[in-house]
């Protein structure tokens, strides 16, 4: 079988799974729904491996294939195909998406077990994976937009999954609206590309672009900036990032799947996919890199003070995606994609561990209330520690190799790009501190009530779950699964998923050790070979020097966190007291929500109010009632003739005919 055939199968299975579960929700027992969902994604993963093996069997230069099922629209000059594009980059993404998703489905199998919306959940989840796969496999910009929008919708549906929760539905809407802003950017970019190049197909666009555009010409810069709007919205970069922390209202597997492993990486994928355009528009690429850098620092600082467990991890996600965006924008393509992969592993794992703890806390996500889960949940805490070490780039773990590779590239590129190295290492320090802040506050210490109950009785019981954000009581029909709590200790699918991810988080970095194997660089090389930036390769010595600095910074960060939260637990309070304004500033997330409120929401509301109260009342109503008056008035005039007397009609008829006859007689003579 060819690589494209495998790729079509990759798309087919999740779609079938989604439809089958959605249509069969009445007949299927809930276990079957979960099994179908998991199996569908598992099969997609197997097909992804099939595609990979096909590609590996070919010479590196021939590893790109386009295939299409049929034409969407074929009119003058426009030929849109339902086509996919299979190359190492898309296969790499397919493997990450399906691989991590399979594990997350497995985790959800246990986590959502007693939720009333079990079928709905798995149907959405499969649909989400399908959309994401469509996004990464699309062979032209039109299909990319379709996948892009599907992902946005799936994300909305899953964030608002517990739809009786006000906070969840609002978060879903926020995510959707901000994603649509990104969609608009992407659509406009596609229009511009079509206007300039006359095609939507990837292969043709990327072949034509270097001949049509001059470097830094305004059109190509505009295209890239519009693409960036899409990428920033999807990947939660400044200033379109505010939806991601709010999206933590969804069930934890959703946070794990969408907001860590797959959806938010779409922007990184987009930039890597369109790197040909970004090479032609270095200004746009630099803007992207600086936004990535800003995001990683802003999100890192916010994560330092967040007291909501999942939100803190969400800010960490933003920060790590900042690294990836920075990487693929400055030219460290394979390093960026490598970080995307390792991040998918350890972030999915961290969310799973957090979900396990949150389940034990009956949905309470506040780390101030958590303590001593290390004793109560040994398995969860060990895996969480693995994820935390990888995130903090502890020497030898996966995050260690991937993050430093981006920074080593920035150094090798030199000049202005050294800024990225320096601030990137500062971000790494923040990462290590906030990661171990979470771990040191949640795992060790004297167990809190829930943890103690877990140690004593082996289970926790909360009769009345409530929404920690608002305090309102949860509707157990569509809300949190009642008195049952699904924590990883008690269910084998969850343990398997977390175990595999913990292994990958620790050891996946070994596939790409500088100077030793560099598997991923070699695999992705053909995709990026046409970029002049790919020729810059940090020397092995420089890479190892970078790794050494990274290791030192990581250990320093962990040390600081240990000193702050274990050795001298009273220091954070003192620090907060001393730096009160800074703390307030960070707790309020740099006031981004308020800024957007003032800049966008308030003016939009004012315009709406004006439209409603003034424009609607005077202009629109005036037009409507004016038209009505004209029609009614002329009707009243004509009514007089309609007397109802048959004979008067006959008289009019005769007079009319007589007049006509007279006219013709006179005109003929």
């Amino acid at each position: 079988m060819s690589a494209t055939a495998w790729a079509w199968l990759v798309l087919l299975f999740p779609l079938l799974g989604s439809i089958a579960i959605a249509l069969g929700f009445k007949v299927l027992p809930s276990k079957a729904a979960g099994a179908i969902g998991t199996a569908a994604i598992g099969l997609a993963f197997v097909c992804g491996i099939g595609a990979l093996l096909c590609l590996l069997g070919e010479s590196p230069d021939a590893r790109h294939h386009a295939s299409s099922l049929w034409d969407y629209a074929s009119v003058a000059g426009l030929d849109i195909k339902l086509g996919i594009f299979v190359d190492p980059l898309s296969v790499f993404m397919v493997l990450i998406v399906t691989g991590v998703s399979t594990l997350i489905h497995l985790y959800s199998f246990g986590y959502m077990r007693s939720d009333e919306g079990y079928h709905r959940f798995f149907s959405y989840l499969n649909f989400f994976v399908f959309s994401m796969l469509l996004l990464v496999l699309a062979g032209n910009f039109v299909l990319l937009i379709v996948g892009w929008a599907f992902v946005g919708f799936a994300s909305y549906a899953l964030i608002s999954f517990w739809y009786r929760r006000q906070t969840a539905t609002k978060a879903g809407m926020k995510a959707f609206v901000i994603n649509v802003v990104g969609d608009i950017g992407l659509v406009l970019a596609a229009f511009l590309i079509f206007r300039e190049l006359g095609t939507f197909e990837y292969s043709e666009v990327f072949a034509k672009a270097p001949q049509v555009f001059h470097t830094n010409e305004w059109t190509v810069t505009a295209i890239c900036l519009l693409l960036l709007v899409g990428a920033f919205a999807k990947s939660a970069q400044l200033p379109l990032h505010t939806w991601l922390p709010d999206a933590m209202e969804g069930p934890t597997p959703v946070s794990s799947l969408i907001h860590a492993a797959t959806m938010v990486t779409a922007g990184v994928y987009l930039i890597a996919r369109t790197h040909v355009l970004f090479v032609l528009a270095p200004t746009a690429a630099d803007i992207a890199a600086f936004v990535g850098l800003a995001t990683l620092l802003v999100a890192g600082t916010i994560a330092l003070v967040m007291t909501d467990l999942k939100r803190a991890i969400a800010y960490s996600t933003m920060s790590q995606i900042g690294y990836m965006i920075m990487g693929v924008s400055i030219g460290a393509y394979s390093a960026g994609m490598f970080h995307l992969m390792t991040h998918a592993f350890f972030k999915a794992l961290l969310f799973m561990a957090a979900g396990s703890i949150i389940a034990a806390m009956a949905n309470n996500q506040n780390i101030d209330d958590m303590k001593g889960f290390g004793k109560a949940m040994r398995f969860t805490s060990i895996t969480m520690l693995c994820g935390g070490l990888a995130l903090a780039a502890f020497p030898g773990t996966s995050g260690f190799f991937s993050k430093d590779e981006i920074l080593a590239y920035a150094t090798a590129r030199g000049g202005m790009y050294e800024i990225f190295t320096v601030l990137g290492y500062f971000g790494a320090l923040l990462t290590a501190i906030y990661t171990f802040r979470l771990i040191f506050r949640v795992l060790p210490g004297k167990p809190c009530a829930e943890a103690q109950e877990l140690i004593d009785t082996g289970h926790v019981h909360h009769a009345h779950p409530f929404n920690p954000a608002t305090g309102e009581e949860e509707d157990t029909e569509v809300g949190f699964p009642g008195a049952d709590h699904h924590i990883a200790e008690q269910s084998w699918p969850m343990r398997v998923a977390m175990g595999v991810l913990a292994f990958l988080a620790l050891f996946a970095g070994l596939v790409q050790v500088p100077g030793v194997d560099e598997t991923i660089t070699k695999f992705l090389d053909p995709v990026f070979a046409d970029s002049p930036l790919a020729a810059i390769v940090p020397s092995v010595g420089a890479s190892w020097a970078g790794l050494a600095i990274g290791a030192a910074i990581s250990l320093l960060g962990i040390g600081i966190a240990y000193w702050l939260y274990i050795a001298r637990p009273e220091t954070p309070a003192v620090l907060i007291q001393r730096l009160r304004p800074l703390h307030t500033f960070l707790v309020n997330k740099w006031y981004f929500d308020e800024l957007i409120d003032i800049l966008v929401v308030k003016p939009a509301l004012a315009i709406g109010r004006f439209a409603n109260r003034t424009f609607e009342r005077f202009v629109v109503n005036g037009l409507v009632s004016g038209t009505e008056d004209i029609v009614g008035g002329s009707g009243r005039l004509v009514r007089v003739v309609q007397s109802g007397f048959v004979r008067s009609y006959a008289l009019l008829l005769l007079i009319g005919f007589a007049g006509l006859a007279l006219y013709f007689l006179l005109s003929s003579s």
Binding site: Q642, S643, G644, V646, R647
Partner: protein
């Protein structure tokens, strides 16, 4: 005979029919007057047909007769219906279609 006589007779018949429609109020009489006007037209058609020397006008007259017969059927049917519902047989008092 000269064609003028036929035309004059036809015009007279037509005028009588039109006048009858305008001044009479009984639907039956109005129907009769309509027939009169149609046949005035037929007369003119046949006369011209003779004058020109082909049969087209005569055929057309027969068609007009068929149409007239249909029209009478409908008209009489209407009159009978009005009669059955005990409405006045007077076209001036049947003016529900007043605008």
């Amino acid at each position: 005979m000269n064609i003028e006589w036929y035309i004059v007779l036809s015009s007279l018949l037509f005028a009588v029919g039109a006048m009858g429609i305008l001044i009479r109020r009984s639907p039956v009489v109005i129907l009769l007057c309509l027939e009169l006007m149609l046949n005035a037209g037929n007369l003119a058609l046949v006369a011209f047909s003779r004058m020109v020397g082909n049969q087209q006008g005569q055929i057309f007259a027969i068609v007009v007769m068929v149409v007239a017969a249909c029209e009478v059927v409908v008209g009489l049917g209407l009159i009978v219906a009005i009669f059955r519902r005990k409405l006045p047989l007077d076209v001036d008092s049947l003016r529900e279609l007043r605008g």
